[in-house]
């Protein structure tokens, strides 16, 4: 009995200490709360992305002593890619001083955070993914789907196929099958593919693979019967290697399978072995470690034994480079905001201003040591995606090789669709639509 009571007392004390502690603030620090995932089914992606992000923040701290002297700090909370754990981490870290931005790399967690971060006035970065209509900064002032949203991705893939066929007019009469994951994520682009099929006149079939996608026999037999010119793989996790393996089984050529941004990593192709050779996937950031910024990370960060990846072979992998690019974009947004507000710890609102003026032309990208790693970005107050270009990479059995130029999605075509959705959202939630970047952001 007394043992039990003592146990309870100790647990109570630990609980109080553990759940309530918030370290004291230091002057001139900018804090990045990280909702990382290093275990569970998606651990491979999480370790790569957050590893790259942390590596870049470390590089800035070690090489430059921070951004204009402002140290970058971070703290990780494990989410296992689960929404409620992500929310728990959010509630735990949201009161830390000097938060710059949240970078969850999870659609589910990002969605659950939108009204929270808007209320707390801190930017939410969903690089390469996220809610498409949050591209409209008039309605979503704090959400930034940087570089690429799902609709742009769709358009980029079709533009790439067009360029391979010799021009958009050659798409007419071609047949494309979209194999999508049976989840809200997978279904999100169904209407866009339909619109593009109508616009360019190609035949379109969209086939669902139920989660998790470890059995695709029937889908690929249907594809074999359809004999399409291309298969677009809108996959997720284990669905990707299984798709490639089953494609090989039914004799569909890998170089006519085009993967989307969640089907473009080493983790997606390595398990498929030989079947993945020749497979092509979209990306916003090239892989490989030959870029100057990667070389500096290797020299400065890994040289000082502060590298975040356990396995150094993964430096320059798709997710690692996405983390590096994400680091560059976050740091540059802080730098741009500092130029306006002063070289000190900024508030979330000031960092938001920085993101809304995050304009990096190819020259600036080169100066940052990232020429060829990503193309450019041009975020404005109402375009929170920033017109990122995409490129396509081919798996040669051991690494990805870039096989296309930087391709621009058809933003003008997509913008009205996005605005329709975002204005509907604004109406539903009673949000005042901003009419200029200087508009005060209305509180929800």
């Amino acid at each position: 009995m007394s043992k039990l009571r003592r146990f309870k007392l100790i647990m109570g004390a630990v609980l109080a200490a553990g759940l309530a502690s918030t370290p004291a603030a230091h002057a001139d620090e900018q804090f990045f709360p990280l909702q990382s995932y290093r275990v569970g089914p998606y651990a491979a992606g999480g370790t790569g992305f957050f590893g790259g992000f942390i590596d870049y923040l470390n590089l800035i701290n070690i090489r430059d002593g921070g951004v204009n002297g402002v140290k970058l700090t971070w703290d990780e909370g494990e989410t296992q890619y689960e929404v409620e754990r992500g929310i728990e981490v959010y509630e735990r870290l949201k009161n830390r001083p000097g938060i710059a931005a949240w970078n969850p790399l999870s659609v589910g967690i990002a969605y659950a955070m939108i009204d929270r971060i808007t209320k707390d006035r801190v930017p939410l970065i969903t690089i390469n993914h996220g809610r498409t209509d949050s591209t409209d900064g008039r309605v979503f002032p704090y959400v930034f789907p940087l570089l690429l949203n799902p609709y742009s991705e769709t358009s980029g893939i079709i533009n790439y196929i067009a360029s391979r066929e010799g021009g958009p007019d050659k798409l007419n009469g071609k047949k494309i099958v979209v194999l999508y994951h049976g989840s809200p994520y997978g279904k999100e682009t169904i209407p866009i593919y339909k619109l593009l099929a109508d616009k360019y006149g190609f035949g379109l079939e969209q086939i669902e693979v139920p989660h998790p996608g470890n059995e695709q026999q029937s889908q690929w037999l249907s594809i074999r019967r359809e004999k399409p010119d291309y298969v677009v793989l809108r996959g997720w996790g284990v669905m990707n290697p299984v798709a490639l393996k089953t494609a090989q089984k039914v004799g569909f050529p890998a170089d006519h399978i085009i993967g989307n941004v969640w089907s473009n990593s080493e983790e997606d192709v390595i398990p498929a072995g030989d079947a993945a050779k020749g497979y092509i996937a979209i990306t916003t950031q090239a892989s490989g470690a030959e870029y100057p910024v990667l070389q500096e990370v290797i020299k400065t960060v890994y040289g000082a034994n502060k590298g975040n990846l356990d396995d150094k072979k993964r430096i320059g992998s798709v997710y690692h480079n996405l983390g590096i690019v994400n680091g560059i974009l976050n740091v540059e947004a802080v730098r741009i905001a500092q130029a306006k507000f002063g070289k000190r710890t900024l508030t979330g609102d000031e960092v938001r201003w920085g993101f809304e003026h995050l304009q990096l032309d190819p020259a600036r990208v080169e100066a940052l040591g990232a020429k060829g790693l990503f193309h450019s970005i041009n975020v404005t107050w109402n375009n929170h995606e920033g017109d990122g270009r995409v490129t396509f990479q081919q798996w040669d059995g051991s690494k990805w090789k870039v096989v296309s130029d930087w391709i621009a999605p058809d933003w003008a075509f997509l913008r009205p669709i996005i605005e329709k959705s975002s204005t509907a959202y604004a109406k539903e939630h009673g949000i005042k639509i901003r009419t200029s970047g200087d508009d005060p952001v209305s509180q929800w």
Binding site: L15, G18, P184, Y185
Partner: protein, 358 residues
């Protein structure tokens, strides 16, 4: 499985007294001193899960029918309330809540039909049909999520009779009230003839039939009540806690989580156990990861820590089951009754204790 009906404390009035004290603290102290983190990230999910566990307990603990599909009914409740609110805006939220529970109950009864013929694991596995079918349907038909391109629903602001529950403390009080009322009603039901029928079916189905318990009605009632409560819990989960929901959040792991609450810690057939179990399942992993990070964070990287935690949690589950197969609550009860009888020698009768406290 023959589980004795929850051993009633030797002194029921004392139980009521303790309940009242807990409630007074929950209403009078916690909302005022609790931090946002405690209220929003710990207590609100605790309340939703506790109610779901109460619901599953009606079915599994009291009626003896194992279900692996609880998460499906959480989802049905959440999506039903969302659609009711969206499509019939004039309905007050409380009516939404009750109707959502009703819809979950209807779905539950439908998926409970196999229980008339199936036993044991065959029934358990057949409830997985609900788990997969509901998730599929919610993803498949855009209507359920108002054709939101990504299938995620945003919860409306909680408003009852013109009062909005917007901050963490208010949402907590809202959840608490719903959970308390539902639990009290469940308690009443369990002490009625229906409740006794549940237990009769659990303890010996054939005998129950012989003495005239209507099997069909009893089993389906259990499925209905259970799904109703889980559906209401789903509304709390979606509206008060996450405030946004996607079908993937209601996966098999969630069903297992609720099963863990009642079996490992809560003990089957104990409503109080459902609460203690839910508290444990919410707080313990958080605590483990925080303590782990604080003590060993400098030695190991977070990936290794997280993996080790998974092992520790799994090992603890096994350890608990070995230590006390009837749930930790049984252990607690034993300790408690020893403690109580020791005290009783000092303070002769319960009623006296109670009176002196009033």
């Amino acid at each position: 499985m023959a589980i004795p009906a929850s051993s009633k404390s030797s002194c029921p009035s004392a139980e009521t007294l303790w309940g009242a004290i807990v409630l007074m603290v929950a209403y009078g102290v916690v909302p005022f001193v609790g931090s946002d983190y405690l209220l929003d990230a710990v207590l609100t999910p605790f309340l939703a899960l506790a109610l779901a566990a109460v619901g599953l307990n009606v079915l599994t603990g009291y009626t003896g029918q194992v279900s692996l599909g609880s998460a499906a009914f959480l989802a049905v409740g959440a999506y039903a309330a969302y659609n009711l609110h969206l499509r019939i805006p004039s309905l007050p939220l409380l009516i939404d809540l009750v109707l959502a529970g009703g819809i979950a109950a209807a779905v539950g009864i439908l998926f409970g039909l196999p229980s008339l013929r199936l036993r044991g694991f065959y029934l358990a596995v057949s409830t997985l049909t609900a788990q997969f079918f509901v998730q599929w349907a919610l993803t498949k038909f855009g209507w359920f999520s108002n054709d939101n391109p990504s299938g995620v629903i945003d919860a409306p602001v909680l408003t009852i009779a013109g009062i909005s529950f917007t901050n963490a403390a208010e949402r907590y009080v809202f959840s608490l009230t719903i959970v308390v009322i539902s639990t009290l009603l469940t308690l009443r039901l369990l002490r009625s003839q229906s409740g006794r029928n549940f237990i009769a079916v659990r303890d010996h189905e054939v005998a129950a039939k012989v003495i005239g318990v209507p099997l069909l009605r009893t089993k389906l009632l259990a499925f209905g009540i259970s799904s109703f409560l889980i559906g209401v819990a789903g509304v709390l989960w979606a509206f008060a806690y996450l405030r946004t929901v996607e079908p993937a959040g209601f996966n098999l792991d969630r069903s297992f989580q609720i099963l863990f609450i009642i079996i490992i810690i809560g003990g089957l057939g104990s409503l109080r156990g459902s609460f203690i179990g839910a508290a444990f399942i919410v707080v313990f992993p958080l605590l483990l990861s925080r303590v782990g990070a604080a003590l060993l964070g400098s030695v190991f990287d977070s990936g290794i820590l997280e993996m080790s935690q998974r092992i520790v949690i799994g090992a603890l589950i096994i350890g608990f089951l070995i230590a006390e197969p009837r749930g930790l609550i049984a252990l607690w009860d034993r300790t408690w009754s020893t403690l109580w009888s020791a005290r009783r020698t000092a303070a002769p009768t319960c009623s006296l204790t109670q009176r002196s406290l009033q």
